[in-house]
Amino acid sequence: MNLYQPNLVTISDVIDETPDTRTLRLTFQDPQLAAGFDFKAGQFGEYSAFGAGESTFCIASSPTRKDSIECTFKAVGKATRAMRELGAGDTMGFRGPYGNHFPVDRMEKASVVFVAGGIGLAPVRCVIWNVLDTREAFEDVTIVYGARSVSDLVYKRELAEWAARPDVKLWQTVDPGGEAPDWKGEIGFVPAIVEKAAPSAKNAFAVVCGPPVMIKYTLPVLEKLGFADDRVYTTLENRMKCGIGKCGRCNVGPVYVCKDGPVFTARELAALPQEY
């Protein structure tokens, strides 16, 4: 077995998040791995449907929940379309965990602000559950999440759960025109809602993930709120193949996203050329 040979996993559950976004819950077939697999929030893996190849996603579940791992994806390419054809009980391949991670340890005893857009909630959700499962170690928890429309919001059952928790401040928003008649959340783009929510930057960290345009306009808002750029974290989505610093694909400036990332601070991101 070489580095590129995946571990076999069984799809134990299929959850349709939106009409085009699906979550798969995966359990390792090797009992030793099923018992011993460990990772950190923000790490990624190479998931494969045999015959269609591999696709790179973060592990969307929290390391505090060890019985299985989850990935959330849209069927847009060859591998993801093939993964969408699979169902519960089917076998997939998984290599990982790879890359660095969100410094959850560093965030302890501090407040955490999560900002996500669309399917960008997947890597953020991993950190959210990591924090909520050890809630007493953290101060305030604020989540600002938005999507184009109500039907594009992912993890709806968990949004309801977070909304109901007194120890979480959840702001949900949809783009103007994306609301439904019974929508009770905000209407507006994520950066504007972050500004409206105005979470305190005092002893706080921010975790941001979403479409590039959302990140572009959210970072200045966070800066205005007083977040230092080395306390704002995001995760880069670059095309990858090997995931282990060999194949050269995810190279941005001096950085191998798969090895030095995928998690970067806003400060680190600002130093990179615009090739992501």
Binding site: Q5, G51, T91, C247, P273
Partner: protein, 357 residues
């Protein structure tokens, strides 16, 4: 270090010894079209050692253009995966060019950092590289500018220098010493002073000729590259580039690859690693359609940056051995040594980001 000599006849006999013992011998040899390629030989007479530079480098013997990573078979609801072997039968490369041998050692860095690529190192361990000092090829050679040389021992287990009637042989690594020990009868002990002097004259002669083609300050080049991401040069020089990737294909150090599934029927298949190149648009395009390197300027810049800034930054050495194959192979006339010369001129005038438009 052991210095020995070997006659052409004994070298031929050595090849016969190796082949009969089951060792695969790779040497530069003429193809049907008269051009020289590295390929497996069974008789020494097939070899064209020290002739023109082989068309392709040694890379394919360590990182094949396509290789299986594993195969799978889909049963009812389950999948069986069959691994590939990561140990390989013995190989000897006879007559490697120093630029090609050095490239293999340079690539050990990326193949071994943190995650060790078993397929690469399996082949490395199974292979003994016997290089021959290069007589020089043409004006596209610039090995001396990259820190190597036509007589550089880097990456070689043994180095041969042509002398009258045969070769002066030096064991460079313990593997090379063991090789000489295992075939001791084919070598003659300690070269005489005249032979050593002739070998030395050959080496210095070629070295000074190649050095005339291009001289680089690698640190200054790297500094310029790191400050000139938006320099107009990238737009100007890339007009002739078709983005075909021929440069990467013939390059001894370009190592980017793709991983793809090849179905064999409905229920089985092989996942393969195939050579790929940052020179094509598809290399970086996201599933969303967004392409971080959307134009050829950015893609050519990436190739130069990876070789002379990113790789040295990460691994302490440039990802280029100055073999000149990219310049010779390019159908559009892109010429890396010329580009480096142009940049060196810009470095000389102190033109960096300030000169960018």
């Amino acid at each position: 270090m052991i210095a020995k000599t070997i006659t052409a006849e004994e070298l031929g006999a050595l090849v016969a010894d190796l082949v009969s013992a089951g060792t695969r011998v790779i040497a530069p040899a003429r193809a049907a079209d008269g051009k020289v390629d590295y390929r497996a030989i069974t008789r020494f007479e097939e070899a064209a050692i020290g002739a023109e530079l082989p068309r392709r480098s040694l890379k394919e013997f360590f990182l094949p253009p396509t290789e299986p990573l594993f195969s799978w078979h889909q049963g009812k609801g389950d999948v069986t995966v069959k691994p590939v072997a990561v140990s390989f039968p013995p190989h000897v490369v006879l007559g490697a060019r120093p630029c090609d041998a050095a490239a293999v050692e340079i690539l050990d860095r990326v193949m071994g950092w943190d995650y060790r690529d078993e397929l690469w190192f399996g082949r490395r361990e199974a292979t003994t590289i016997v290089s021959v000092a290069c007589p020089g090829v043409d004006g596209s050679c610039f090995c001396t500018a990259t820190g190597g040389g036509p007589d550089s021992k880097r990456g070689s287990d043994l180095m041969m220098v042509p002398v009258d009637g045969g070769y002066l042989v030096e064991a460079v690594t313990p593997k090379g010493q063991a090789f000489v020990g295992a075939h001791a009868a084919r070598f003659v002990d300690a070269a005489d002073a005249g032979t050593t002097a002739a070998a030395e004259a050959f080496r210095t002669g070629v070295r000074s000729r190649v050095a005339e083609h291009l001289t680089l300050s690698l640190p200054a080049l790297r500094r310029w590259l790191e400050g000139s991401f938006d320099h107009e040069l990238w737009r100007a020089i890339v007009l002739r580039c078709h983005g075909c990737g021929a440069c990467a294909s013939v390059c001894p150090t370009c190592h980017c690859f793709d991983i793809v599934d090849e179905p064999e029927g409905v229920r089985a298949g092989t996942r393969r690693r195939n050579w790929d190149t940052c020179q094509t648009a598809r290399f970086t395009v996201h599933a969303s359609g967004h392409n971080p390197r959307a134009d050829q300027n950015a893609r050519f810049r990436q190739r130069v940056l990876h070789k002379f800034s990113i790789y040295p930054g990460r691994f302490g050495e440039v990802l280029c051995t100055g073999c000149g194959r990219c310049a010779r192979a390019c159908p559009g006339g892109m010429d890396l040594p010329e580009v480096l010369k142009t940049i060196t001129a810009l470095v000389g005038t102190g033109a960096s980001r300030e000169a960018a438009v």
